[in-house]
């Protein structure tokens, strides 16, 4: 059996490796670099630079350090490049060790069951589309010059002194955090009435408050009406609820979302949904039975971990296994400062699905570790079914909460009840104690939050 995987991002490389474990012959075609957008231009560079900025922020605000540090952008970018290279080489090594043939070049559909890459024809029994996504453009704000997309942000020659970030989703909030942490003057513009509009409203409010507290000017319900490049800066006219506003900055970052990219494979005539995503069933099979799709090209949510999970399901089905992509919880994590985690259902979603949701909320200031690491801003919220007491969702804002999302997902996947959770001994002093506290709050007996 022979599989051709198009795209070497998280979906593509994970699929290729899993396919080899299952004894399938694999050719992976990649136009740029294995690791895809994620390793080379998105997840990893952003997290590396956010880490660098966090080291700076923590040092600059620590009363116990003498000597004001300053942030050297070029050195941070150079270090980030090393991180990316190390991880990309790691993936290359894994593909090689697994016996995956990697072909460089842009793949297009060939006749019958084949793809063509630079004139070479490669036949297959199965095709996996793992071609990812591309940025959505704003007509009134074309990229070029001082107007950049997320990719360019991580390789700027110099750190801008002022930035307007357009788009208050995950990538926008991360970019605004990054630049504000290293001292830039930052505006963040979002068309909806709150940042991170898909998430729990309390989360949005906390993130807005935290960013504003660090000096970020947040403009919600605001749209870019016009952009004027003034040479050394760009001036944006925003139309907001309160009328027009003008903001100006050295750099404008457009982060208004992504869209699935079937690219040349659109010509296969696969069924697409209204967003342009390749439609699949739970086995990740498209409308052509020998073609599967996984990752961003199969539609939102746009996460590498979703890509991994779908990719594995796709190749397992090719191998005849009956696996399905049907997770109860796909964590959303935003590595801003503070970090954001959203796992499972919000109360609103839960109610819509017929649950009788209740929620418990605990401020991070109740958690010893948060106080002892100067990170007590934020909160955690647990959504559970009032009848069965099953955990339906966990939503958190706070420095360091990203590492708690895995446990939250496990709770939802395992149908844990708040009663179960309250009995899981969590180590002191860690942020993870917030889970016990949430469960106890749900049961009406919190230890570290005063009962009203």
């Amino acid at each position: 059996m022979k599989l051709v995987v198009v795209g070497g991002g998280p979906a593509g490389y994970a699929a290729a490796i899993r396919a080899r474990h299952l004894g399938i012959d694999v050719v992976l075609v990649e136009a740029e670099h294995v690791g895809g957008e994620c390793t080379n231009h998105a997840c990893i560079p952003s997290k590396a630079l956010l880490h660098a900025a966090e080291v700076f922020r923590a040092a600059a605000s620590a009363p116990w350090l003498a000597g004001q540090p300053s942030f050297k952008w070029r050195e941070a970018v150079a270090w980030k490049d090393k991180v990316v290279e190390r991880l990309r080489r790691g993936i290359e090594f894994l593909l090689k060790s697994a016996g995956v043939e990697v072909v460089r070049g842009l793949a297009r559909p060939g006749p019958g069951k084949s793809v063509e890459v630079d004139g070479r024809r490669i036949e297959y029994d199965f095709l996996l589309l793992a071609t990812g996504s591309e940025p959505v453009e704003l007509r009134q704000l074309p990229r070029g010059g001082r107007v950049v997309g997320t990719r360019e942000v991580f390789s700027l020659e110099e750190a801008p002194a002022s930035v307007v970030v357009v788009g208050g989703g995950a990538a926008g909030v991360e970019a605004a955090s990054l630049f504000s942490m290293i001292g830039a003057d930052v505006h963040l513009v979002e068309v909806m009435d709150r940042l991170l509009p898909g998430l729990d409203p309390d989360v949005s409010r906390q993130v807005e408050r935290s960013l504003a507290g660090r000096g970020v000017k947040v403009h919600t319900s605001s749209e870019v009406a016009k952009a004027t490049d003034g040479g050394r800066s760009v001036r944006l006219k925003l139309s907001t609820r309160e009328g027009e506003k003008e903001v100006e900055a050295e750099l404008v970052v457009v982060a208004v979302g992504r869209r699935p990219r079937p690219g040349p494979f659109a010509s296969l005539g696969l069924e697409l949904d209204s967003r342009g995503a390749v439609k699949t069933d739970q086995s990740m099979r498209t409308s052509l039975p020998w073609v599967y799709a996984a990752g961003d090209v199969a539609g939102p949510p746009y996460y590498a971990h979703k890509a991994y999970a779908q990719a594995k399901v796709a190749v397992e089905n090719m191998a005849g296994l009956k696996s399905a992509y049907e997770p109860r919880a796909v964590p959303a994590v935003i590595f801003s400062d503070p970090e954001v985690v959203s796992v499972g259902l919000t109360e609103e979603e839960a109610a819509r699905r017929g649950y009788r949701p209740k929620s418990a909320r605990v401020p991070l200031s109740a958690i010893g570790r948060a106080v002892a690491t100067d990170s007590s801003e934020g909160f955690a919220k647990l959504v559970y079914d009032g009848e069965s007491r099953i955990v339906l969702g966990v939503h958190m804002v706070g420095r360091g909460v990203s590492e708690l999302a895995g446990e939250a997902a496990a709770l939802v996947e395992f149908y844990a009840t708040v009663d179960d959770l309250a009995l899981v001994v969590h180590p002191h002093p860690t942020l993870s104690e917030v889970f016990v506290e949430l469960a106890e709050a749900a049961l009406g007996k919190p230890t570290h939050v005063a009962k009203l």
Partner: protein
């Protein structure tokens, strides 16, 4: 389909149990869970499938 599947009073089963049930064509609603809080485990699905086979002789 997604809404129906996530609807309340769904059968509580561990991820691998859900997956094995699909593999074996077992209806989770008929399986008795023995995990924490009555959650259906992989073992429960396996046992149920074996019992069915012993009873009916045919695949579950």
């Amino acid at each position: 389909a997604e809404a129906a599947q996530q609807a309340p009073r769904e059968v509580a089963a561990m991820p691998a149990a859900r997956r094995l049930a699909r593999e074996l064509g077992v209806d989770l609603a008929k399986v008795k869970g023995t995990g924490p809080g009555g959650v259906i485990t992989v073992e429960d699905v396996r046992r149920y499938a074996e019992e069915l086979k012993a009873k009916g002789g045919e695949a579950p």
